[in-house]
Subunit: 468 residues, 2 copies
């Protein structure tokens, strides 16, 4: 701890928090969605939280920590689900929440500091009739750089694909962790060096992303007697080129009635639903299509009374990771998966998985654009029993051509594409030569010989020590 | 002609033109793109042009013409290519050009009169940062109702599909041609009663269409050594979900150099090109992608000097039907086709057709969204020799799975889906019981027993008499 004491002295003038209870709280994210991660990461805590007010202070922190050999794990709002922001080796939790200015709004783009909360950015951009293309369901709390460094897509992905798609992030400013930290501006392909790298190879200090036309989206819930009816309707409307949605999800019964408690009064117990954000000027044609398909509207925010809407969360807070969150509040024993159902067989794949698992894995689909086509990614609820069965469920999905992005692993590779990202690894060698940034999250760095084909779970050595 | 004289008296106070030279000029459109239509329709003329100033005058004209049994053929700006607006049986040419007000601009939508020119509408909507989703290459002259009644899509279809797609037209006001004309408001599926019906079953007096975010689109021309390289690049970028384009076309050598005379200075003789309108905030990521693909930028309007840009038309005036127009100005013996290359085999289909026809049919593709996927429609140049060879070229396309929308026919069915549109036919029975609206354009009305499988060309009897 003498390292830490010396470090605190070196950071004189920068906001620091070392109350252990608060530090532990600020060392956590939503890892506890996973029973596996809950066991593995529950004890994790940093040694102190440092909250720089500007880029110059970020540079001072990184320089001092580099000199002291103290790990630094960056953090936005801590809304991730993979333990992205958890300091496995202790050290400094670098909170970027204070760096939250919206610096410039131009036609088609916004520049903001890393800790700017997405809803706050939109409030600024809406003054010019614009809003973010993409946001997670944690829109009201998540930070911009946290989304870029730890997220993949979300609301808006039905129009724009994922964050990884070229054009969805325009520019990042990144500070390296070297003896003399450098400030780099990344654009084009260089963005992939640090996007979705969990802050393992640089600290983001400025983000530029594109904007889209802002609308007062209408929340709509459509009810169906069977899940596949909901899925087919969602797929039908997602492929209507002239209709504008910001969000299209399908959720299987009994999840909507049992877990969406604020909306329960609108739902039947047997309802599978399609959850939508519809552009106001698309409502008339959408309703014409819904009538033709005999789809029943359970809720629409544009005609609901104030009394009906009182206390209701927005529909996007029923989607993506919020679906699971609402489930966990009712039944803490459940967990979830992340699945890709690739185009063009996505609907058939969903039907097959639904047939195999039934109510053990109630379906939840998010319709997205993926390489130019409409496909769906799934975040099905899992009625968890054992780790072994959870693994089995994932294996069956993969054996049926539905890749899993394992949300029960905290490393980039295990939760992601299951292979080394050579671009990110090379940039880490350059930008974090001592390996102090968010240690334990990039397997390729920690354990270059790790065998992806083996079933053994990667446990960061430092963490294993701490956990023992 | 006594009918016409009586009619003129009945229309006292409404603007009328009966100078035969002017009436003939106002009876024409761009039918002469087709050597076939040029022979068949060149003599066509109405008897007088009537230009109502408002809906009340439209009602007076239709009531009077109904009583007199005089045909009425509506006309916007006369920019069609299929003879849509040509009065095959003479009578009244109903010019809606004077009804050109932009009545309301709201968030996501605009309401305008039928004769409002698209570029004029955009000038009004741009005040709120919005623009039309879709427009033809005749943006600077075409009218809104003419586009809706006689067009199918165009610039913007890469994002929104075609006019036929639900959501791309929100509402139409239509006046019927009955003893007592009615004013109907059509929304939802009812819109299909009169959309792309050439004004055969109602006169449009008001149009409501959706808007999109307006940008100062950057014109870009990318050069390639071979056409299929251009096609593959166009297809690659069209499938990038995070990049925003308003227009993506591919044109085979030697068309760009030989026909795009104002842009010739930027082009090599051997260049096949991709023509683009790129959102300003998509330029950086687009250029990163272009560099990766070793695509050579021949022209970009955002960095061109004023001297370079002097006299240049916008890139969209090199696309869609303007490609053919520029060709016809250089070589009046050429003509063109309209082809669909369906997803997912569109690129292979283009390669096959290019292999079969070579320079007899230089390629021209427009990338569009079609039923949720990226496909392309083609308007290839045809080095015309005989009608027989032209038919043969079309047959070979259809035999290879590339449907033709024959631009050498003036009827709705022959130029369109080659089958009776029962909805439009039923609405014509209701809205035009005497068959006086744009006679000769709807085969199902004129000749219900016409055999679509036969190769015989439908010639409207009234026209045949006139032509003999």
């Amino acid at each position: 701890m003498s390292d830490i004491a010396a470090l605190k002295a070196a950071l004189n003038g920068i906001r620091i928090e070392d109350n252990p209870a608060i530090v532990k709280q600020k060392s956590r994210d939503f890892f506890w969605y996973s029973p596996v991660l809950k066991r593995e990461l529950d004890h994790v805590s940093g040694d102190l939280v440092v909250s720089p007010a500007n880029e110059a202070e970020v540079i001072r922190v990184l320089k001092a920590c580099y000199a002291a050999g103290v790990p630094v794990t960056p953090r936005g709002s801590g809304t991730g689900n993979y333990g992205q922001a958890m300091p496995l080796s202790g050290g400094v939790v670098l909170s970027l929440a204070e760096m939250n200015a919206v610096k410039a709004v131009e036609r088609g783009r916004v520049v903001a500091e890393p800790g700017a909360v997405l809803a706050h950015i939109d409030r600024e951009t809406r003054k010019s009739g614009q809003e973010l293309r993409l946001h997670p369901s944690t829109y009201n709390t998540a930070s911009l750089a946290g989304f870029v460094a730890g997220g993949s897509g979300g609301i808006g992905s039905i129009n724009w694909g994922g964050l990884r798609d070229v054009g969805n992030v325009l520019r990042l400013k990144v500070v390296t962790m070297e003896e003399e930290p450098r400030v780099l501006e990344l654009t084009g392909w260089d963005l992939h060096k640090v996007m979705h790298a969990y802050g393992t190879n640089g600290i983001v200090t400025e983000v530029e992303v594109p904007l889209d036309a802002a609308y007062d989206w209408v929340d709509v819930i459509v009810g169906f007697d069977d899940y596949l009816g909901a899925v087919r309707f969602a797929n039908l409307i997602a492929n209507q080129d002239g209709l504008l949605f910001k969000e299209i999800a399908a959720v299987a019964a009994p999840v909507p009635h049992d877990y969406f408690l604020r909306h329960q009064k609108f739902l039947n117990k047997t309802d599978s639903v399609v959850l939508l954000m519809v552009a106001p000027h698309a409502m008339d044609p959408f309703l014409a299509l819904a009538r033709r398909e005999k789809a029943e509207i359970r809720f629409r925010s544009d005609t609901a009374t104030e009394a009906e809407k009182k206390g209701l969360p927005p529909v996007f807070e029923l989607t993506w990771n919020h679906t699971t969150l609402r489930g966990l509040r009712v039944d803490p024993t459940i967990t979830y998966l992340q699945v890709l159902y690739p185009f063009p067989t996505h609907v058939e794949s969903v039907a097959r998985m639904t047939g195999i698992f039934g109510d053990e894995v109630p379906g939840h689909l998010e319709f997205i654009r993926f390489d130019g086509n409409v496909a769906c990614t799934g975040l099905p609820i899992v009625r968890y029993t054992t780790d072994q069965r959870l693994d089995e469920i994932m294996t069956i999905h993969e054996d049926n051509g539905c890749p899993i992005f394992n949300p029960h692993r905290y490393t980039l590779e295990e939760g992601g594409m299951k292979r080394t990202d050579e671009v990110q690894l090379a940039f880490k060698r350059e930008a974090d030569p001592r390996g102090l940034l968010n240690p334990g999250k990039m397997v390729a760095w920690e354990n270059p010989d790790f065998d992806w084909k083996s079933e053994k779970v990667f446990l960061f050595p430092g963490l294993r020590t701490a956990a023992e």
